[in-house]
């Protein structure tokens, strides 16, 4: 633990956000997203549907005058849809020039995962883990670290823009 703390302080000098991940739950898994992408976390709000979008883009929301699209991460990962409840959160992320809200089942915590605890995902032939950049070990559990760029800019979106 002391080692981790030392490491932590060291890194803080470099960049306070480095190695920190916001973890959230979708289904049975814990996912992590680099904290530098996250701007804020809000509760679920009224979503305006926009026609012609893929199912996982639920529509747009009004974030204090700024209009941003929201993506249901459940549907994005091809899981069964689930009713939104009090625990449902929208994680607003800024990736490149794009602001987007990610609808997740619930948000857990902010963790520091040092580099040595992060391993690349196993090479599967199935396309299932294409959004997973790496896997982080947190105590006894693992957290699937998301590749935000891919989450947004996958082929499906490219197809979408051609409609």
């Amino acid at each position: 633990m002391a080692e981790i703390l030392d490491k932590d302080i060291e890194m803080e000098e470099e960049d306070t956000q480095k190695g920190k991940y916001l973890t959230f739950v979708v289904g049975n898994e814990v996912y992590g997203i680099e904290i530098r992408y996250v701007t804020e976390i809000i509760g679920i709000q009224a979503i305006t549907e926009v026609p012609e979008l893929p199912v996982y883009i639920k529509g747009i929301i009004n974030l204090r005058g700024k209009i941003i699209p929201v993506m249901d991460v459940r549907l994005r990962f091809g899981k069964e849809p689930k009713e939104y409840n009090d625990r449902t959160c929208v994680v607003v992320v800024d990736i490149g020039e794009i602001s987007i809200g990610l609808i997740v089942d619930s948000v857990s915590e902010v963790l520091t995962i040092p580099d040595e605890d992060i391993v690349p995902p196993p090479q599967l032939n199935k396309a299932q883990n294409r959004y997973i950049k790496a896997i982080g070990k947190v105590g006894n559990e693992v957290s699937l670290l998301l590749d935000c760029e891919k989450l947004l800019n996958d082929d499906e979106v490219a197809v979408l823009s051609e409609i």
């Binding site: 009224a46 305006t48 549907e49 926009v50 026609p51 012609e52 979008l53 883009i57 747009i60 929301i61 009004n62 204090r64 005058g65 209009i67 941003i68 699209p69 020039e97 794009i98 602001s99 987007i100 947004l152 979106v157 979408l160 823009s161 409609i163």
Partner: protein, 680 residues
């Protein structure tokens, strides 16, 4: 030298902005001269503008620009000082316009972060040649001028000492001093400075900051003139000028041009002119310039956009507070009184912010004079430009989009529309052609007409070309004139056989249409053989705010721009006509319109599916109509248009979105798009 990036960036921006403005001003001035064939009245203005450009270009280290500006300045110095009799005004104007074009080019390069390395030497050489010509032609002039040109003034040139104080905090005093001295070399000789070295010399800079830059020099100019010359430099706060020879130590202390707080320059005209009254009138111009009251400030457009967004949010929050559901039924007379006041102020604020963004078309129209002039020369056709309604205001964003299309249409009109002088004579028209540029308000649209009195469009030739390109889908006789003329707006369509420098390549008309469509406008063409052609650009007054009717479909709300709505009504089930393909339509006053069910188009679940349960709204665009079937109308309100998030990209039938009073989002329907989709 410590110039941090942001400082340099803002200076750079200011340089580009100011120089652009000055060049435009200069162009206007010159074109005015050309009309009257009198340059005398503008000499001072040209001189002043060139001088400013020279100074700022030197500061930004654009040597080619400053050298060229210097050459022009030389020319006008002679014109101003010596007033030569036989002036070739057109030639001077050409020379200066050539220089203006060069500087414009270079600035465009600088702006796009390219190297500013254009070669101005030939222009400068021509200018020098002309200056020499002037001198040779005017013998006494030469003598007077020798002083200025030679490096050694006669021993009788009086010596002066000047202490120049820069504005505190203006930054890099060493560069300022260097620029000042460089500039000053043309007026004075044997310049010595205290401190002697200051470039990259901390001590020297410190000395300039604390005690000012001390100059000793010899010059033929008198005190007042020298003071003016020195004060004209950027960031100079105060100049103390002393004549060394003069026993009485006559000191002219100038009034600070800019007050210490660095606020908007105070008008100092009164005092200044009082002081300069003794001097010759020619120096008044430059002094008067400093005294012009600053009532304009330039603001970054992004800031305005931000302000508009904020005010939009304020309007929404105001509605959220004053119409809060929890207030329902409570006897809150005083609260409502206060709320009304708040609403009034927020709406006034909104109107004001909108009006800030409105810019008159004048500047854009003025630019066209230059185009017409150049084209006239090159095509050898005399064309007069007639501008009407230039005070019409449109949104700043729109102005940026119409300059190029206008330019193109005017070029087209002059190249293809207006006939040659002989042809015009044979048609009993005046020899000179007329192009009229007219702007007028029409509801929430602005109409800009580009009218020429040329030969008009040739229906037969256009049809023939269209046939060749395989564009004809209907029989010729079915096509109205407007349909036929519409072909010329398509890409790659040009009936002109030979390509000229300006037009005829078939790229262009489609670009015009694209640009105009981008801002939600339309291009209409009317033409009568031998009477002329009229291009009408119909553009919206503003992009940022529209009047919209909000309609409901299922749980979703949509806004329809009020201007595109013709009428709304309930219809009976038996009025609905369905063709074998399942397309629904309705007959209204003898015309048949397609019916579009929004819930089907957008795949929205709704209870209202029977045509007689909901409301039908007839919309139109470009003369085509369409009936939209919605659940109900919710009401009319002004909405602030926002673009859909970039990530969503383009959705068919949706132009954007807007925030409603309760904070919910409504999608704005793209009526022209829908109509095109249904009728194409």
């Amino acid at each position: 030298m410590m110039i941090d990036d942001s400082q340099r960036d803002s200076m750079f921006e200011l340089f580009i902005f100011e120089t652009r403005q000055l060049l435009e001003e200069l162009e206007q001035e010159l074109l005015q001269c050309e009309k009257t064939n009198q340059i005398e009245g503008s000499i001072d203005a040209v001189f002043r503008i060139m001088h400013t450009i020279k100074g700022s270009a030197a500061l930004m280290q654009y040597r080619n620009i400053s050298e060229l500006a210097h050459a022009v300045e030389d020319l006008f110095f002679i014109l101003r000082e010596d007033k030569p009799q036989q002036l070739n005004t057109p030639q001077i104007i050409d020379l200066v316009l050539g220089a203006v074009d060069f500087i414009k080019d270079q600035i465009a390069c600088a702006e796009s972060k390219q190297a500013v390395d254009g070669d101005a030497s030939s222009l400068i050489a021509t200018l020098h040649q002309y200056v020499a010509q002037l001198k040779a032609g005017d013998e006494p002039v030469k003598e007077q001028n020798v002083m200025k040109e030679t490096d050694n003034p006669g021993p009788e040139a009086p010596g002066y000492e000047a202490v120049i104080h820069f504005e505190p905090g203006c930054g890099f005093e060493d560069v300022q001093s260097f620029a000042l001295i460089n500039d000053f070399k043309q007026y004075a000789t044997a310049i010595r400075t205290v401190p002697e070295s200051f470039i990259d010399d901390e001590d020297g800079i410190h000395l300039i900051k604390s005690q000012g830059l001390k100059l000793t020099f010899q010059s033929d100019l008198d005190m007042e003139q020298l003071k003016t010359v020195l004060e004209k430099n950027a960031f100079v706060k105060e100049v103390v000028l002393t004549c060394i020879e003069d026993e009485g130590k006559q000191t002219v202390k100038s009034k600070p041009i800019i007050d210490l707080d660095g606020e908007i320059p105070q008008p100092v005209a009164e005092k200044e002119t009082k002081e300069t009254r003794v001097s010759e009138p020619k120096t008044k111009q430059s002094n008067g310039e400093a005294g012009v009251k600053q009532s304009l400030i330039s603001v970054n457009v992004n800031k305005l956009d931000l302000l508009l967004d904020l005010v939009g949010e304020l309007v929404i929050s105001e509605a959220m507070v004053t119409r809060h559901p929890e207030l329902d039924g409570l006897p809150l007379d005083n609260f409502y009184k206060a709320a009304r006041q708040l609403r009034k102020i927020t709406h006034e604020l909104q109107d004001l912010v909108m009006s800030i963004r409105m810019v008159p078309l004048a500047a854009t129209f003025q630019k066209m004079h230059r185009i017409v002039r150049d084209m006239s020369r090159k095509l050898g056709k005399e064309v007069r430009l007639n501008v009407v309604g230039e005070e019409t205001e449109v949104d700043k964003n729109i102005i940026e989009h119409i300059s190029d299309p206008l330019m193109h249409l005017i070029r087209n009109a002059m190249d293809h529309g207006i006939e040659t002088a002989e042809e015009r004579r044979s048609k009993n028209k005046p020899e000179y052609g007329t192009v009229t540029l007219e702007a007028k308000n029409a509801g929430s649209d602005v109409l800009i007409e580009i009218r020429d009195d040329g030969r008009g469009l040739n229906r037969e030739r256009i049809l023939e070309k269209a046939k060749r390109l395989g564009l004809l889908t209907k029989d010729e006789s079915e096509l109205s004139d407007r349909d036929v003329f519409g072909f010329i707006l398509l890409p790659g369509f040009s009936t002109k056989e030979e390509v000229t420098e300006f037009s005829g390549r078939g790229v262009g008309m489609d670009v015009v249409v694209k640009e105009i469509n981008e801002i939600g406008g339309a291009v209409l063409i009317d033409s009568t053989p031998d009477v002329g052609t009229v291009f009408t650009l119909k553009i919206p007054l503003t992009l940022a705010i529209i009047d919209g009717i909000t309609v409901r479909v299922g749980k979703s709300q949509y806004s329809i721009p009020t201007t595109s709505i013709r009428e709304s009504f309930q219809m009976k089930a038996e009025d609905l006509i369905t063709d074998p393909d399942g397309n629904e339509m309705i007959m209204i006053r003898g015309e048949c319109y397609p019916v579009l069910r929004l819930h089907q188009l957008f795949n929205v679940h709704t209870e209202v599916t029977r045509i007689d349960q909901g409301v039908v709204t007839m919309v139109e665009s470009n003369g085509k109509g369409l009936c939209l079937f919605v659940d109900e109308l919710l009401g009319e309100q002004q909405v602030v248009v926002k673009a859909l998030p970039k990530y969503i990209k383009k959705v068919k039938g949706i132009a954007g979105c807007t925030l409603l009073g309760d904070g919910s989002i409504s999608l704005i329907l793209d009526i022209p798009g829908l109509i095109q989709m249904m009728t194409a």
